[in-house]
């Protein structure tokens, strides 16, 4: 079990997706990329982001960045550390977070929502491996 | 007579304004600062700017820079437009006010404030006019 956004977290995440998630069944063979911007990361109130890229349902890229230089992505979600934490702890669904404006979305809502389900699968997998958060 | 935005231009204008413009009569003792951004400067289509600062009608700062920001100083207001517009203004083909009202110059900051010092600024422009004769074509 690892800490949110840590090196290990990424590694676990990658492996988990590759092993556990079927590109066709779970990921619907989608090709897309997602940039998640995380604001107010404790303890120093910094900004971080993770970039995730799927090709035909297969994980192509998954990395974490510090600071506010961001990578181009099909769509971008933005929110504070707390909401990501809630999502990863299963307190709130990604779609719900979007509809409640806890996550702001850049890009087409339709496109975003189309991959909500597979994304949930991914979150699910990350949920199982993430137990530690900054307080 | 010198070339717009050249170092000489910068220096000579400074002296000229200090010499020829009376802080009270011409510049009405205004205290303000103006950042003028010049886009599409030939030949390399670059962006330049000059920053101009008046205190109680005295010129306290006048610097030419590249890029669209003036390092360090926050100007009271910022006007931006393309090289051609500035050329027309300095050639006396168009007044600064008209340039503003016609959207040739874009203004950041209160139009009210800007127009209140338009007169004194015209004074400055006129003096710049006197010494500027050469432009990139």
């Amino acid at each position: 079990m690892v800490k949110f956004l840590s090196e290990e977290w990424i590694e676990y995440g990658k492996n988990y997706i590759l092993e556990k998630l079927d590109p066709e069944k779970d990921m619907k063979n989608i090709t897309t990329s997602l940039l998640g911007i995380i604001e107010h990361v404790p303890p120093n109130d910094i900004i971080m982001s993770f970039y995730l890229e799927l090709k035909d349902g297969k994980l192509n890229d998954f990395k974490v960045n510090n600071g506010d230089s961001f990578q181009e992505a099909n769509y971008v979600i933005k929110g504070n550390y707390g909401i990501y934490k809630d999502i990863l702890q299963g307190k709130i669904g990604t779609a719900m977070a979007l509809l409640k404006n806890r996550l702001q979305l850049k890009g087409s809502k339709i496109e975003a929502l189309k991959i909500i389900k597979p994304l949930d699968g991914l979150i699910e997998s990350l949920r199982d491996i993430t137990d530690e958060f900054e307080e | 007579m010198v070339k717009f935005l050249s170092d000489e231009w910068n220096n000579i204008s400074k002296e000229y304004i200090l010499k020829k413009l009376d802080p009270e009569k011409d510049l009405r003792n205004v205290t303000t600062s103006l950042l003028a951004v010049i886009e599409h400067v030939p030949p390399n289509d670059s962006t330049m700017n000059f920053y101009l600062e008046l205190q109680d009608g005295k010129l306290t700062n006048f610097i030419v820079n590249t890029g669209d920001t003036h390092v360090g100083k926050e100007a009271v207001f910022t006007v931006s437009g393309n090289y051609g517009t500035y050329r027309s203004i300095l050639k006396g083909e168009m007044s600064m006010a008209v340039a503003l009202l016609r959207g040739r110059l874009k203004l950041k900051g209160s139009k009210m404030k800007a127009l209140q010092i338009i007169k004194p600024l015209d004074g400055v422009i006129v003096s710049l006019k006197e010494i500027t004769d050469e432009f990139e074509e």
């Binding site: - | 599409h40 051609g84 050329r87 168009m94 009202l101 016609r102 959207g103 139009k111 015209d122």
Partner: protein
């Protein structure tokens, strides 16, 4: 027909032609088909203003004054005219001119030129670049073509260092603008050109015309689609008010529009569309669902885009003057409105403005009627009468015999009509208006008649003549018929105008309110400048004081002047007023006085407060009226006035002193 041919074949001296050309008022009525004649074939084919009757008249003036030298294109321009006579018919309806004679003279003039007199036009890099964007045919730097744009976007005194480009869509416009910025060349869009032609002779000219650079003529953006379901129409920047209305009416829908010749998109941007329908149909942003705009960086955006800067608000205050649109509207999705089956019209005559005003405001607050306006007798006469002279006599009769100085002019359904009739002492109905239109010449001829003398002794002449016992006599006496009215036109056009006036719509006042082909008559053979604004309507005495002030200033400057109209807006919370100065735009002294009157009245209005002057709402038509009209402008202080004067001087130049 044969008679017509003969007429036009007769030679005409350059002097005579020049006389005609000078009277051209650039009303643009020759660029769309409002009489069912079809439109000028050469204009339609070549597009540039130079190929339209209006352009040929302008070119002729320029050639005669030596301001422009012949070029290869001149031959094409002269010869492209087929002498079909359409322009004479259209122009006669509006301003009683014969543009074809000028076209004829132009032909003669060019044919007599010798090759050596033609100047050569070289294609420079800029024109090359523009042609890469729009294609060979649609960009030019030919001085003769450029000269046709003088007075409708180019100041008469400026050199002709311009380019004219006619893009076909927003993408091309975006490219043109980026290209222009790249090369530091100013640019400006041109649509109908009437607004510019009104301002050009005045002090505003230099400020509002393009000093040099690229004229973007939008005539080719011709998209026009009506969506009946959502009651909307998608309208390209090249579409005139008349063309849109025609399309809308096919579906029993109506658009809220300016004068027939004004282009819809540019009109939204410039004044937000001022019409008698605006109390019901709305003003400014109320008029459209969405617009596509190319901004001055060349970026294309819609007002429905989320990531753009707030497109619905503007700075307020008397210093917020804008002399160019916030961008080029290339397309707009405008609202259309249902036309009730039982629409009818009713006019209520008044002697005093006060009474007319209180009625119109009451109707507006209670949302009675679809079209609401107070017209001055001047407007009424100009609209109804086929010629200037007849209009003059008609107005004289209104003033001296009928005591008819104003009419409250209402279009509404039968219920609205009842309401108005109950409020009014006497009214003029649709059939009576038809009688007045067709009988105008006869009525004018009665100017000094016994009949009118008798009438004028009645306690209430209007009542007697429109609703009382004398109505029958009047109707009989006027013997109003297409034949009668046709007689006032040139012999060779009488058959044509008989047919025109036999068409129901030409005497259908509702149709005329929707299609607005009559206002062009205000400009016949001379120009007028309209001082206009919007004034908060709760204090009706103040509105009267305003009108009073406007007339006093005009007297001071010895100008022919008259209130044009007052119409309510924003549920009657405001009224829009237009006050007109008439003058000869070829007389520099007169124009100078117009300018002075313009500035002086603007100042006085600013001091009065509660008024939003034309200078302050120009080019704000894209914004929400709530952000333009509110908070209600307060009267300005003396320091503010000083600031305003400084501003005016820096706009108008030092030749303008107090």
């Amino acid at each position: 027909m044969s008679l017509e041919k003969v007429e036009t074949m007769q030679k005409i001296s350059l002097e005579d032609a020049l006389e005609i050309a000078k009277k051209g008022s650039h009303c643009g009525m020759c660029r769309f088909d409002f009489l069912g004649t079809g439109i000028c074939p050469s204009g339609k084919k070549y597009g540039f203003l130079a190929y339209w009757p209006q352009g040929r008249m302008q070119i002729f003036k320029m050639l005669m004054s030596g301001k422009v030298k012949p070029s290869e294109k001149l031959i094409e321009i002269a010869n492209s005219c087929t002498l079909c006579g359409i322009c004479d018919k259209q122009c006669n309806f509006a301003t009683q001119l014969r543009p074809e004679k000028v076209a004829k003279a132009l032909k003669d003039y060019t044919n007599n030129l010798d090759k050596s007199e033609y100047q050569e036009v070289i294609e420079d890099d800029v024109i090359k670049g523009l042609r890469e964007i729009v294609g060979e045919k649609w960009a030019t730097n030919d001085p003769v073509i450029i000269s046709s744009y003088v007075q409708t976007i180019i100041h008469p005194d400026s050199e002709l260092n311009f380019y004219v480009v006619m893009p076909e869509n927003a993408e091309e416009i975006s490219k043109i603008i980026k290209f222009a910025n790249q090369h530091n060349i100013p640019f400006m869009p041109r649509s109908g050109g009437t607004l510019l032609s009104c301002a050009t002779p005045t002090v505003l000219s230099k400020a509002i015309c393009l000093d040099h650079g690229i004229i973007i003529d939008l005539l080719r953006l011709k998209k026009l689609e009506v969506d009946v379901k959502s009651c909307t129409a998608t309208v390209g920047a090249g579409i005139t008010a008349f063309e849109l209305q025609k399309e809308a009416h096919k579906h029993k829908l109506r658009a809220n529009l300016a004068e027939a010749g004004a282009h819809v998109c540019s009109n939204i941007a410039s004044t937000g569309i001022t019409s008698t329908w605006q109390n019901r149909y709305g003003w400014a942003a109320d008029n459209y669902i969405d617009v596509t705009i190319v901004d001055d960086k060349g970026t294309i955006r819609n007002n429905s885009d989320m990531e753009i800067k707030n497109p619905y608000t503007t700075e307020r205050g008397f210093t917020d003057i804008t002399l160019s649109p916030p961008g080029i509207i290339t397309e707009s999705t405008v609202k259309l409105h249902h036309i009730a089956d039982d629409e009818d019209v009713i006019l209520v005559p008044f002697e005093h403005l006060k009474d007319a005003l209180s009625m119109i405001i009451k109707l507006a607050q209670r949302n009675v009627g679809v079209s609401l306006i107070v017209l001055s007798r001047k407007y009424l006469s100009e609209f109804l009468c086929p010629t200037n002279q007849i209009a003059k006599d008609f107005e004289y009769i209104c003033k001296n015999y009928l005591k008819l100085n104003y009419v409250v002019d209402v279009i509404g359904n039968k219920d609205d009509k009842k309401i108005v009739e109950e409020m009014a002492e006497c009214t003029i109905d649709k059939s009576m208006i038809k009688t007045l239109i067709l009988g105008a010449p006869k009525l004018a001829s009665l100017k000094n008649s016994e009949f009118l003398k008798v009438l004028s002794e009645e306690k209430n002449p209007c009542k007697a003549i429109f609703a009382g016992p004398m109505r029958k006599h009047l109707e009989k006496g006027l013997d109003a018929s297409p034949e009668q009215i046709a007689k006032v036109f040139d012999a060779d056009l009488q058959d044509f105008f008989k047919k025109v006036y036999s068409r129901p719509e030409m005497t259908d006042i509702i149709w005329l309110h929707s299609f607005r082909i009559l206002p062009s008559r205000l400009m016949r053979q001379r120009l007028f400048f309209a001082q206009a604004g919007m004034i908060w309507s709760a204090d009706q005495d103040k509105i009267l004081r305003l009108v009073d002030m406007l007339s006093k200033v005009c007297d001071k400057y010895k100008l022919e002047h008259m209130l044009g109209f007052i119409l309510p807006m924003d549920d009657g919370k405001y009224v829009f007023f237009e006050y007109d100065y008439y003058y000869n735009h070829n007389d520099p002294d007169a124009t100078k006085r117009v300018s002075q009157a313009l500035i002086e009245t603007t100042e006085k209005c600013l001091l009065m407060g509660d008024i939003l002057m034309v200078l302050n709402y120009l080019f704000k038509g894209l914004y929400r009226k709530e952000h333009v009209l509110y908070p209600i402008p307060k009267g300005i202080s003396d320091e503010d006035l000083a600031l305003f004067r400084e501003l005016i001087v820096s706009i108008l130049g030092d030749e303008f002193k107090w």
